[in-house]
Symmetry: C2
Subunit: 241 residues, 2 copies
DNA sequence: CCGTGAAATACTACATGTGAAACTTTACAT
DNA sequence: ATGTAAAGTTTCACATGTAGTATTTCACGG
């Protein structure tokens, strides 16, 4: 999560020489660009020139091209032949569809957890993320949005992970990058953060009660609210995120 | 779905000359290999040598490598660094997980269709696929498995398409390649085909009755049965598909 | 017979150069 | 002013060559 990803062997006194970080330039380029997009340092619609990136990172075009192709498959950038590569932007419709799929998966995961008696494990798992969110939002004067987003993400990730279904986890991870972009877009006011936090608490309370109906409702409401908030913001922005 | 995917301009009488297929070697290589894997001409575990393929297709390693990387992302092949590339094989667990996700998606889609009053549209859409399946299985003496598989696939694809959610469709399409491989594996006896056909009929009957409960049960039963059959065959095969 | 180490082999990742295709700009003519 | 044509620029896809690294093979010594 650093600005410069090239840090490898920090001068750690008397540590037994960490193996050199594998420098797979394609992988590194991919990570750097993904970071930038997820944190909105590269904004939707922005041009991403192969030569430009290659020069900045001091590598040839090959790994940059490969990284961009991978990002294109994931949908984070759009490669328009003979035009260039641009950071993808989400339309209101994209968000609607995205959050429907998200809800389908998370609701299934929640049912699984209750059915398989993994509620306690879940409650334990989200302890850290919830603490992080609280801390990030309770800091006076300013909200640590990146930390909040991380906590938010990990909360929902825990849900899916606990199904133990790795295939589902992969599918969700693919969606998640876009959800993360959305989060970065809408998490701008303290109020939104507090609202999300309250809704998470509601989900937790429902889990504590072991009432499947209540859990489904609380979770669906939360996802739906976030979606509505994003779609609302999107309308103001001329429809593109 | 032809053996040779290079066919471009079939002699279609008095049609206005289709534009020549863009010869994107990476894309073509990808398609050829995917075809081969989906039809089990390249069997799970088989080695896929870059140089080998490159020579056969008369292209350089570059497009072959790129195609393989894409197939690896989709999970159809496995690239083991410094070892080589191999066609992926599914374990019983993989199939279990795969079919859980499949069920989650298709059941949601079915609920959508009933909720949005698209039942008639669905019934119309699956008319063709069902006919194809019947014809493929009713042919005396032998069953046209490729055609049957296509019909089977299109039946389930119709379900998902009718949600109108393109993101969901993408997710499902990614799963579908593996489902298709599974189908190719288990669809070997007339009995299995007939069984699948009967179960489809049951789903259709449930849709006709407009009873959500019945639809869910019929669909879930079908998916579960197919899964069980595959897992059963997998056990006989030493656990790998 | 087994373990050890070195050479041979194979594969990956990358850089670079080339040709082709499409968009952009400019200049010109109507 | 508008439309058109040609030049210029950008970008893409591919081939080829190279270096580095992991695995395998094989020979040798225990």
């Amino acid at each position: 999560m650093s600005d410069s990803p090239r840090v490898v062997n920090r001068p750690a006194p008397e540590s037994p020489l960490l193996p050199l970080e594998q420098h797979d330039l394609t992988e590194q380029t991919y990570q750097v660009l993904k970071e930038r997009i997820l944190h909105r340092q590269l904004k939707p619609g922005a041009r991403v020139s192969v030569d430009d990136i290659a020069q900045q990172l001091r590598v040839s075009r090959t790994p940059v091209t490969a990284a961009l192709k991978r990002l294109a498959i994931e949908g984070l950038v759009e490669i328009i032949p003979r035009r260039g590569t641009f950071v993808s932007s989400l339309t209101a419709r994209d968000v609607e569809e995205l959050f429907v799929v998200r809800a389908v998966i998370e609701l299934y995961a929640a049912r699984c957890i209750l059915r398989d008696g993994k509620t306690d494990e879940f409650l334990r798992r989200i302890d850290g993320p919830m603490a992080k969110m609280r801390q990030a939002s309770e800091t006076d004067e300013y909200t640590d949005y990146p930390a909040f987003m991380e906590g938010d993400r990990d909360f929902h990730l825990a849900l899916v992970d606990l199904t133990g279904n790795s295939r589902l986890a992969v599918v969700y991870a693919e969606l998640n990058v876009h959800i993360q972009v959305s989060r970065a877009h809408y998490l701008n006011t303290v109020e939104d953060a507090m609202q999300a936090l309250r809704e998470h608490e509601a989900v937790i309370a429902a889990f504590r009660s072991r009432d499947p109906q209540a859990v489904e409702e609380a979770l669906e409401l939360h996802i739906s609210n976030v979606k509505d908030r994003i779609v609302e913001l999107l309308s103001g922005h001329g429809g593109r995120l």
